[in-house]
């Protein structure tokens, strides 16, 4: 018979794959049972999910001023040569 319970450390190890929808269905189900009752693992899941959402926003990293202008100037010089 397969083990139904899963430890916090096992959940944490798979939390990234869980968010990628990259864990087998049976493991996912065991994780979800664990997450219902474990505030710590749930907080880690929420925090990682929130972190990914924030960093994927284009506002976090800016290009240096004039980056595109200098890039195209260099390309034009190369093309002219």
């Amino acid at each position: 018979m397969k083990r139904l319970t899963i430890s916090c450390s096992e959940v944490i190890q798979e939390i990234s794959n869980y968010l990628e929808h990259d864990v087998p269905g049976e493991l996912r189900a065991r994780m979800e049972i664990h997450l219902v009752d474990c505030a710590h693992c749930h907080a880690v899941l929420d925090g990682v999910h929130n972190t990914i959402s924030l960093v994927s926003d284009g506002r976090v990293f800016d290009l240096p001023n004039g980056f595109a202008t200098r890039l195209y100037s260099k390309l034009k010089t190369a093309d002219d040569d």
Binding site: A39, V48, L54, D57, L63, Y72, L75
Partner: protein
């Protein structure tokens, strides 16, 4: 290919990994890729001015990929420019069995690594990397009540600075994976191909990076979690 190591840097024009073979079911993406394919054909046939159009959507991606390795804006810009020039010069070698963006980022990564080697920065990175092991478990901070940071808070400089600091503080092998997958939203397979590592390594490093960035953001940007009384001593300013 070594799982832990990096792609040999003599290979500056990457070949396509089977893991990145294009298989597109999203019609919007398929249309974009078809447009790119046509642009590349026309550029290779002599319409070189179209290269600007081809590269424009990836300006940010090439800079951030280079900066994830070099961590210096000036060096990253130089590496990004050199990589784009190489892509321009060698575009005919792009075979089209991977996405153009993956091929381009591979060139940027190689260029940035070569630049880092030349400037001996890797000596410092290798020390960092030896202290980072994919095999060691990372235990996230015990914060039972994660307070969601709304995306509107990104309008505040403090949060953007805190995010950049958290990512800069990652060891190089974690930072590079995090930047490509989570910041630039490349797929796991594309990230693996760009960095010359296995998909399994990408996943392992991604877990560590995500947990560390999460820990760095909560609950305050000053890095303090609790006061002497065991309670949070600072509420995040965003």
């Amino acid at each position: 290919m070594s799982d832990q190591g990096e792609r040999p840097e003599v290979l500056t024009m990457p070949s396509t990994s089977p893991a990145t073979v294009v298989d597109v079911t999203d019609p919007v993406l398929a249309s974009k890729l078809e447009r790119e394919r046509i642009l590349i054909t026309r550029i290779c046939a002599g319409e070189k001015a179209l290269f600007y159009e081809l590269i424009q959507p990836y300006e940010r991606a090439v800079f951030l990929a280079a900066n994830s390795i070099l961590q210096n804006e000036h060096d990253a810009e130089e590496a990004a420019q050199d990589a784009v020039l190489k892509a321009f010069t060698h575009l005919a070698r792009f075979r089209g069995d991977s996405r153009f963006s993956t091929w381009l980022i591979q060139i940027v990564i190689n260029e940035a690594r070569m630049k880092r080697r030349k400037e001996r920065k890797h000596l410092y990175d290798s020390i960092d990397e030896s202290q980072s092991s994919d095999d060691k478990d990372y235990l996230p901070q015990d914060l039972a009540d994660w307070r969601e940071i709304p995306s509107e808070a990104l309008q505040q400089k403090e949060l953007r600075d805190a995010l950049r600091r958290a990512i800069d503080a990652l060891s190089p092998i974690y930072r590079q994976v995090f930047m490509l997958r989570d910041v630039q939203q490349m797929s796991i397979a594309e990230t693996a191909a760009a960095l010359g590592i296995t998909e399994a390594s990408v996943k392992t490093r991604l877990l560590r990076a995500r947990l560390q960035v999460r820990d760095a953001l909560a609950p305050g940007y000053d890095g303090k979690w609790t006061g002497n009384d065991g309670h949070w001593n600072k509420v995040r300013p965003w």
